[in-house]
Every structure is written in structure tokens, then in C-alpha cells.
Symmetry: none
Subunit: 80 residues, 4 copies
């Protein structure tokens, strides 16, 4: 009798994923909405996107530097 249960499990997995993807889409749309509002208020969307992306990049870069520092430390025989 495990078959039907497996079927249920699969169904559950698919539904969970689809539900999450819907939520994700909602957020994506929200983001677009914010850009739209910004544009309506006279902001240059292109610049705005650039600002966001650079801030994100900076954050990433900081993490990157930590990561390589860890690697160097390991390379000289220290635990991270």
C-alpha cells in the first residue's frame, strides 16, 4: 500500500514547490511595482537599479574577501 502514499508525497512536493514559486512571483511583481512608483516620482530607474546592484556587489565582495582570507589562513596551516 505504499504506492498511493508515494503518490501523495509526490503531489505534496509538487504543490509545495508551486506554491513557493507563486509567492516568489508575487515578490518579483512587488519589486517591479516599487521601481514603477520610483519612476513615477521622477527617479531614473536605470540609475536606481545600478545603485542596488552595486550595493549588492559590495556586500558580496566583502564576503568574498573573508572567504579568501580563510583560504589563506588554511593554506598556512591555520584552521579557519
Amino acid at each position: 500500500m505504499s504506492e498511493p502514499l508515494q503518490g501523495d508525497q509526490l503531489k505534496s512536493i509538487v504543490e509545495r514547490i508551486e506554491r513557493l514559486e507563486e509567492e516568489k512571483k508575487t515578490i518579483t511583481d512587488d519589486i517591479k511595482e516599487v521601481y514603477s512608483e520610483a519612476k513615477a516620482n521622477g527617479y531614473d530607474v536605470k540609475v536606481l537599479r545600478k545603485v542596488i546592484s552595486i550595493r549588492k556587489r559590495d556586500l558580496r565582495e566583502r564576503r568574498e574577501e573573508e572567504a579568501i582570507l580563510d583560504l589563506y589562513l588554511q593554506a598556512v596551516g591555520e584552521s579557519a
Copy 2:
């Protein structure tokens, strides 16, 4: 005195977007998590992804067909 307000507005916009992007990332991670669990339960992730994508495609096609049907109905003088 509108400058500082604009500054605040810009800051608010950036923060709203960054907050939304964080939420989006959380959901993306949740989705990965579900796939991981599925894999741990013996499901083939690649196939699973295919299933999801086909279902998405089907849904989209169904909506397109409805849209076309609506157009036809309107064309013959019926309200949608």
C-alpha cells in the same frame, strides 16, 4: 527643504527593494530545500523539475487559449 525628504524617499525605495529581494532569496532557498528533501526521499530532481516546468507551461497555454477564446467571443459581439 525638499532635498532631505527626497533623500529619505530614495533611501526608503532602496530599502524596500532590498528587503523584497531578501524575501525573494529566502523563498528561492526554500525551494531548493524542498528539492533537497525530495532527493533525500529518492526522487529524481531533474525529472521533478521537468514535471514542474511542464505543468507551468500547460497552465500558461491554457490561459492563452482562454484569452484567444475571449477574443473570439468579443469579436462576435459577446462580452467576455
Copy 3:
């Protein structure tokens, strides 16, 4: 009589692309080779890759900053 010519043209396109992809693969293999040599000489490949990627990122970041500067200049009415 344009049909055969078109066939030739298509053939030419496909061959050019396939040739270029072969060259690309050769280079990819060359890169792997360099990493292999480096490893044989005692270098930590993981660290090496990190170094390369950070240098690339830095270069990109510099260009990014120039790009946003240009955007700002445009935003205040100056030509880039």
C-alpha cells in the same frame, strides 16, 4: 536558383560556429592545463582560482563605477 545558395549559406554558418566552438574548447583545455601545472608546482588551485576571480571582479567593479558615474553625469544633464 537561390535555394542551393541558401543551403550553402546555412552550411557555412553551421561550420563557422562549430569551428569556433572547437577553438573555444581548445582554450578551455589549455586553461585546465595551466591549473594542472600550477598544482604540480605546489600551488593551491582553489586559492589560485579565487585570486583570478577576485581580479576579474575588481576589474568589473572598476568598470561598474565608471558606468554609474556616466549615468549620474547623464542624470544631471551632461553628456557622457
Copy 4:
């Protein structure tokens, strides 16, 4: 006095890799260029890509089959 030499060696490695990656990028761009031209001549790029990928797949499969055949031949005592 091996330190500076090692430094030079590392520098050389990094430069070789970066040089190769530039060449790789050039080729990637060339490929894009060919697709662009094809498009300008009325070809459907998406279909074209499909053609290329199928040919690549076929080539690969043929080689795999030869490899298997070789194994069989060896198994029965023949040299490849």
C-alpha cells in the same frame, strides 16, 4: 632567493590564465557575431542553436559508440 622566483612564477601563471580567458571571450563574442549575422540573413537563431546542439550530441554519441565497440573488440582479444 627562491621567493622572488616563486613570485614570478605565480605572476606568470595568473597572466597566462588571464590571457587565455581573454582569448576565450573573444571567441565567445565571435560566435555571438555569427548568430547575429545569421539572424540578419533571416535565419531563426533559436532553431539554429538547436541544430548545432543536436549535431554536437550526435557526434558525441557516435564517439561513445566507437568507444564501446573498442571495448568489445578488446574484450575478445583484438587490438583497437
